[in-house]
Subunit: 728 residues, 2 copies
């Protein structure tokens, strides 16, 4: 594949390279060594060059001033301290201390001085060596943060090995750094041991936690730097990567700006040509988000349709409050899959409809009429006798509908102008067709609108769609976290967004987790059915007395196999149109149910503050769909737990909720906790706080005497719909 | 002891009590049953009454409407649902459904309806029963939050048992709720089992984690309610308390508004009189903060001196930037202990001074002269021949000094007006005396000021104080957290405050923790010495070339024995004046070194967001004292770890730093990580990120194959001194 548009290739010069050129005999007005090397690199087709900024001379002076003091020979220490103080007071390089010179700079202390010099030379990115040890990361990070604050535009990139290869040898030995000039700044030790063997999968499995070590360092650094957008990662791919790149998927959510590939990374293939190890190849392909990249080139795919929308936050539509623009309708009418499935569902319903008499159909919320056209062609295909009432509340779209009736539909349809919740329809329909679904299913108020439309659907009538479910998964994404908080006020971090995910990593895994109580990677929250079985309506108006039956709540437990940072929740929907015909954006099922459907990106529920989740932890997510007489809104919250093996059980132990969605059954839970949410009254909770439901003995035995310990929690997001709500 | 000023005693009426009175024959215009009972209670000397708001009739109707639906008999369910919807649409009590009536109210759904009715009756506090189970706490809490938002002034208090007594029986059985009318609202089941035995200490030790269970519930509730100030705790003391109330100290940091003591809490003493169990007694005494309370009555104590200052946040003084007011000097001159110790130190120094010739003394920063007076009396007592130069930069205080010289001191002193960092003094001093210490030792820039004063101290001269150290401990306090964020802008949560602690719990414990690497409960950060041994000064000015030698950094590991929420750090100082005479506000040492000293309250370093810490976790705190040419400021940060027993070691393992303060030794660490902080340069960190220093094998074996897993972190606070700094 071509990386042209995805990456630029740069070469790296070591101090040795530079010295070598410098030693060569040169004409009086020839280029400086570095400029000569750069010209050579450009001629070889490299886009960029990467080189150390300072020489051994500087390293030597600095070391003698600031590191060597022995603490025993106080005279020598004092002398060194005197030189150091003199330098601190008037810091600067000597000519022979830098590789690339056109002038001299004067700044604060070492790193600041080096970066200022780099900025002065208009170097776009300074690649910094990794911290010395996990123990010192916080001080290292604090210094990086200070440098970012003191410089206005230069980008800093931390060079980190993708993992500690020594763990693959099953013990903790110092790892080999890739090269003696592995960054803009000098100092990496030269390789001391030969190549490491590529791990077999079993080995990798058992030590998967080890792959988190360098990521954990990165997380401390970027957290202390408050996710600064000028801070990025230079991932050192010297250690051979395991084939199972799933273990490395966490890097997908991080701002990788450079991949570091010293020649030692390449191995000889059977023909003796240098190639990269398989695992490394596939990881690079993923880092380039090649999949998305290639798909984007293929027309008809979501990726192609959605170019430029990757990781871009959009406020969900409010079609009930706002009248959509014609261009918005046009965009969504482009979706062939969605309307094809609708036509099939309508066709099946018509074919299945008993009896011979005329079938009354109603398209509720027709927009510019795509479903009317599909209904008519379904009628024609089915050979049934049918008539369509077309309801639309948007006066502008209604004009388009009148045009189409005149030009295309004639007397096969009757147009009715008004809101489906209040309009009077001449006769009750056998089949009601609507397209009111949002990315999370109910988030564009399909349940509330169809409650109204039920007035003109016969008791035994069919609703297309007949049901839909909402699904959630915990995600990590530095990009989306920064996008969400870039909003002008705090509300922006408590608002669900429509987003096409790219630099996103789903943190949850399948399997029951260490406690055995966790659900699958993506879990169902709740369901809505039409027509409702339990409808209670006002005899006079035919409308529900309150909207409380459309409230929902769900608690889900997710297993987090690898350490990561929770930035939000990914929301998806799946709908049954009729029979076995549906629509789905559920990542595991969409290709089976509605491949290449374009109309919906997932929903993103952000969390105000990142929540760190260790390997093998469990995340309890609670989400509520709430309502009053004027609005509908979501509230969300999460708690993290960690399984402590071999610890004595205590009544802190928690049994995660059953993974089944709390759905719309009457059986489970009390008013506060069942679903749909019923009128809360505290006395239903005044029972024993330590009853068996919450502290079952099974939980204590789960995973062999292990128990869940609470380790952290988020705040409650969007209480009372203070930051985001959907207007009724 | 008397609780008069600390608490009011209220009595509780059950539904039975009310019914009984209602049944009695009454005169036509007699009081209603509740009013009659209240009058009786008042006559018996109770300050308040507590009673259920609704009757069994309401409970029955609500249960039938909203709980009973079976899910099997759909007709019955539908009928119930119809009644429920009708009530939700038009909610309200019937007369016989409330105990206390003067009118009727109409509000939303059950709890809201009940609270609105309570507000209507001007009831100040509604005590709510506990959540049904740990599993349902988040939904319970979300509902409480909604009620707080919808009501404007009524206080809500959650009744929680102080712990789950069943754990003391070594197994998990349902606990007995205290009473059938244990709150404003009905519904607690009646006691089903006899009294529980008071646990012996060993038992309590081993299950100490169990005592956290109800606290963990409370933490979820108040966190989801965002620490609402109208939300409080009603602690149910029915379960007998262990004598070791240290296990219960966490409650000290929580807003306990009521203690719930049903008659069943009392036991018969030897004489057969009802008394409370010993553990319960001592806990109540502490909840009443009786210690502070009594001390406050005793003059001469800090508590008495500081009445009204408990948990009140004060910005630290900036005596260098601001000229203090006379009243401020006066306040601090009231401290007998501080000046007594100073006089003793000066006296000792004079006595120890070799030779017979005249001793030159200098009081640097004399303010209104207290140290001058003490010096003169020390000279007199020592019988030595001495002369004092008095330096002061505050022009207003200088007037007072001139007055005292004229009236008291005469030619025993010479006054010099100016800043000790720049002023010229006629001759060099043998003994330099200053009082520039802040609550954290160096936080009022004593090190920087004395750097200047060293110009006029002889090389072999004595500085009083000769050294001082800063100390930290992690703390929890809902009160201080709310106080800090009450500030108008974000800066208020990144500013250290001077506070007299009251509703505060120190989270750390002694002992090495599960990893064996933790320091004591309160740990030393760093030290300053005068005169400095390693002084490097400009020959011309006699001043240091830079202030980098006064930068410091420290990393400390604290053991957290019991689950708690980290809200900030408590800062203390300890100073050596001369020989074995000192000043200290270190909680464990102050009474030995400077008992009843009044001048300093501790420093409080807040954290922006509360950090949950599980039982047996470890907290790594990093703090930096940083400086440029104009300012000095602190930055702080924390990471939490949990020990996973029996898990295989990985290179995620962390060895906490040695507990020794990083002090001012040259031996340890590189520029970034040693102390004093030296000029940072990245290449000293370019070594192997996985070297043995960070992943010693000892750590893996610590606690028998256990290892530390990172579980959470705070953000970096006050980077670059953006929110708070001290001006040079």
């Amino acid at each position: 594949m071509s990386w042209e548009n995805a990456a630029s290739i740069s070469t790296l010069f070591s101090l040795e390279d530079i010295t070598k050129v410098a030693k060569e005999p040169r004409k009086p007005n020839a280029l400086t060594p570095v400029l000569a090397l750069s010209a050579e690199a450009r001629s070889k087709g490299y886009d960029l060059v990467c080189l150390p900024l300072t020489t051994e001379k500087w390293k030597k002076r600095w070391t003698e001033m600031c590191l060597l003091p022995s603490g025993v020979d106080s005279d020598a220490d004092m002398a060194a301290e005197q030189r150091a103080e003199a330098w601190r007071a008037k810091p600067g390089f000597l000519l022979e201390e830098v590789t690339y010179n056109t002038a001299r700079s004067r700044v604060g202390v070492a790193l600041q001085q080096e970066l200022a010099y780099a900025s002065y030379l208009n170097i776009p990115t300074a690649i910094l060596p990794p911290p010395r040890s996990r123990e010192h990361v916080s001080s290292y990070a604090r210094t990086i943060h200070a440098c970012l604050k003191s410089s206005s535009y230069i980008h800093l990139s931390i060079r980190l090995p993708i993992y500690n290869p020594s763990v693959l040898e099953g013990r903790l030995t110092p790892m080999t750094s890739p090269s003696s000039s592995g960054g803009l700044l000098p100092g990496s030790p030269t390789p001391s041991t030969p190549r490491l063997v590529v791990p077999d999968d079993r080995r990798t499995e058992t030590t998967s936690g080890n792959l988190d070590a360098t990521w954990e360092m990165w997380d401390v650094i970027r957290s202390i730097c408050d996710y600064n957008t000028r801070l990025s990662l230079t991932l050192d791919l010297t250690p051979p990567l395991p084939i199972k790149s799933s273990l490395l998927s966490k890097w997908k959510a991080e701002p990788i700006r450079h991949l570091f590939l010293p020649s030692s990374t390449f191995i000889a293939n059977t023909k003796g040509y240098p190639v990269l190890p398989k695992g490394t190849q596939s990881f690079i392909r993923e880092s380039m988000t090649a999949s998305i990249f290639q798909a984007a080139m293929t027309s008809g795919t979501v990726e192609n349709f959605a170019q430029g929308y990757q990781d871009y936050l959009q406020a969900p539509l409010q079609p009930l409050m706002d009248n959509l623009q014609s261009v918005t309708y046009q965009t969504f009418e482009q979706d062939p899959v969605k309307y094809h499935n609708y036509e099939e569902a309508i066709f099946q319903a018509l074919v299945d409809w008993p009896g011979e008499e005329k079938i009354i159909m109603c398209v509720a919320g027709a927009g510019r009429g795509p479903l009317v056209a599909r209904s008519l062609s379904a009628i024609e295909r089915s050979g049934r006798d049918a008539f369509i009432y077309v309801v639309e509340k948007n006066p502008n779209a209604y004009i388009t509908l009148q045009g189409r009736k005149e030009a295309e539909w004639g007397d096969k349809v009757t147009l009715l102008f008004g809101d489906m919740r209040f309009i009077e329809v001449p006769e009750k329909a056998d089949i009601l067709i609507s397209e009111l679904l949002g990315s999370f299913g109910d988030n564009e108020l399909s349940p509330e609108c169809l409650d109204g439309a039920m007035r003109f659907l016969k008791p035994d009538g069919i609703s297309i769609p007949s049901s839909y479910t909402a699904h959630l998964a915990p995600l990590s994404s530095s990009k989306l976290y920064n996008e969400a908080r870039a909003g002008k006020d705090d509300k922006s971090v408590e608002t669900p967004y429509v987003v096409m995910f790219q630099a996103v990593n789903i943190l949850s895994g399948d399997g029951g987790g260490t406690s055995g109580h966790c659900g699958p990677q993506i879990q169902e929250c709740w369901e809505f059915e039409h027509p409702r079985r339990d409808a209670v309506v006002d005899e006079r108006t035919g409308l529900p007395l309150t909207n409380s039956h459309n409230a929902r709540s769900a608690t889900m437990d997710f297993f987090i196999p690898h350490a990561g940072v929770l930035h939000g929740l990914a929301g998806y929907f799946e709908a049954v149109l009729y029979g076995n015909i549906g629509l789905s954006i559920h990542p595991h099922r969409k290709d089976r149910i509605s491949k290449d459907m374009l109309s919906w990106f997932p929903l993103f529920f952000p969390f105000k503050d990142p929540l760190y989740l260790p390997s093998n932890s469990e995340l309890k997510v609670s989400i509520w769909r709430l309502t009053n007489q004027r609005q509908v809104w979501y509230e969300w919250h999460a708690e993290a737990f960690l399984n402590i093996l071999g610890a004595p059980p205590t009544d802190n132990d928690v049994v995660p909720s059953p993974r089944s969605a709390s759905g719309n059954s009457f059986a489970n839970g009390g008013p506060l906790f069942g679903s749909p949410v019923r009128s809360p009254s505290p006395f239903v909770d005044s029972n024993d706080p330590f009853d068996r439901r919450s502290f079952r003995n099974e939980s204590l035995d789960a995973g062999g005497g292990s128990r869940l310990v609470k380790i952290s929690q988020t705040s409650l997001h969007n209480p009372g719909g203070r930051s985001s709500w959907i207007g009724l």
